[in-house]
Symmetry: C2
Subunit: 386 residues, 2 copies
Amino acid sequence: MRDVAILGVGMNARWGELWQMSLRDIFVEAALNALDDAGVDHVDSMYVGNMSGGVFVEQEHLGCLLADYLGMTPVPATRVESACASGGAAVRQGFIEVASGLSDLVLVGGVEKMTDVGADEATHALSTAADMEYEAYHGITFPGLYALMARVHMERYGTTREQLAHVSVKNHRHGAMNPEAQYPSEITVDDVLSSVMVADPLRILDCSPITDGAAAVVLCPLETARKIARTPAVRMLASAQASSTIALHARSDLAWLESTAAAAEKAYKMAGRTPQDINVAEVHDCFSIAEILAIEALGLAAKGRGGQAAESGLTALGGRIPVNTSGGLKSKGHPVGATGVAQVVEVTRQLRGTAGARQVAGARLGLTQNMGGTGGSSVVHILEAV
Amino acid sequence: MRDVAILGVGMNARWGELWQMSLRDIFVEAALNALDDAGVDHVDSMYVGNMSGGVFVEQEHLGCLLADYLGMTPVPATRVESACASGGAAVRQGFIEVASGLSDLVLVGGVEKMTDVGADEATHALSTAADMEYEAYHGITFPGLYALMARVHMERYGTTREQLAHVSVKNHRHGAMNPEAQYPSEITVDDVLSSVMVADPLRILDCSPITDGAAAVVLCPLETARKIARTPAVRMLASAQASSTIALHARSDLAWLESTAAAAEKAYKMAGRTPQDINVAEVHDCFSIAEILAIEALGLAAKGRGGQAAESGLTALGGRIPVNTSGGLKSKGHPVGATGVAQVVEVTRQLRGTAGARQVAGARLGLTQNMGGTGGSSVVHILEAV
């Protein structure tokens, strides 16, 4: 397999409720920014990470649609879906295609247009990531599922309500430095604790928002990047994915992300690195508890200590391992199919040293963790500045 | 890139209106049959071709769901979507993953459960493969779009209404020999011409049906297949995909499948073969006119002569290049996400010499062509008996 690098990255100007833009407009903006950043005007192949265009905007066949609107036909263009891990899964397909030698320039974009439907419909659309027959059909939604995971974590490890809040507070503090973020505003622990209850113990400020947005990356062989990249080359040391049971009730441990742990183990092995080597990470904080579970499964915090990591500042900018410097899903927003790609965009900027006010000094090795459902799918990437 | 082979193939027992089975049941049946045929009890990775689980059965995240129900967690499992070419696109991802060296055993399944909704909802779900904003929103559906293509072909090349009928008659004659087919019954030209009008000139017997079904293949390196295959090895000589405009009105020629022609050109080049070398082909006859357009774009018939190919018997069993020996989408059924995988299943059986009553004598080289929408996406595979 060939070594793979990231040649260009891009986002649409700002994530949020983009009522004046269609899905295709948002995607094309991000893709053009990535192509411009890469300094190329063509690609050999395209992948689109998208969770539910069919339900959100009544549009499937997004690979074709977006290759067309980007002016890239007749390149192969395929949509990849793995619920909220669709973006990460799409990046992995691009990685494999470049590594295989089949293509030299692959564009991977992620996009979701979620605000064209009402909140009820959006909640329904998201529930299709759960087991429809055994979970969603009976009325449970994702805040409820993650609330169950939070309860177990609190009961077993003594994780406090305040520690959950610290995750959101930290990510909003980071997001306040990100002009692309949907909610770039700082919040306090009191704000979280007094916000509207969604599913006990999770309140609205524990939950990532409904977002329209897109992100894109251009991948190429490392050798090519060394020759033509106008920015420091970023190597994809590892790309790993794993699955777990789709239904939460089928897991042996509700407070442990098996698929993230499995993907991380493969990724560390592929990269020849350990959790202690990671300088910066973007993880899937769809709910505050999710970041806590993710950093434990990734080995960035000990089992049961994820809550303390947020409270102590370990995972804040300036801490030992800054997590979600972009603002994470909580502050930056969570257009589900775009999230996994945007994580790679943020870590690439950190490794290039171009993350501005939220730069992690001297970051050389970064990690992304993107997951679908309650962790039925996870994708982990490890990137290195070279 | 490593050479890739097909180690096992399988279908669920019979395609049709499977009201007693859920999407997951149908998929698991086909996948277990493919694993049994391959003689393996594990895989390294999985792909699921599916067009619109979100709209048809309110279930996304199908990679995770189906890895789970197949007992394959924690393998990476990703759903691939390219409208009605989802199955072909999924096979291509499996091909790339094995070719890259990342995985040695990859299961690729395709599935669609279409009959849990009414005909109106199914028509809506399928219309999400068209350009929703510029085509479907205004009321046109796929029979209407293909009728436009048929009209142009008839006007320009003198293709007759009877020639369209001959495509359906031939495919039903083939399908009558296929115990897995949804409609294994012979029909006559008169049956087609007197059947209910759907979108002039296309009548109901020009149209493929609404179907529940699944198909699966197990891929591995050719070297492995030579060692462990219990059946003659089938090599994947080429896997190619291309895109075109999603909207029919944006094409320079309504009677020419640009994406199929582009994918075929790449595939023939990759395989080092020409159309004249092909012994058997499965093509995307979602409507009778579609087969005519497909064989022209593939170079199996001259431009404008696709209708005569069906009428003259060129593409029938016993003809020079038998097309859709399985019965095609018309007789076998068209569970959209499964179709591209099932085409590979049929050609594999032909190249193994195990196609029973519908065997093409001495078939050594086979081709599949799977497309999405009105040809916005096409995937072409070339397989060889080795």
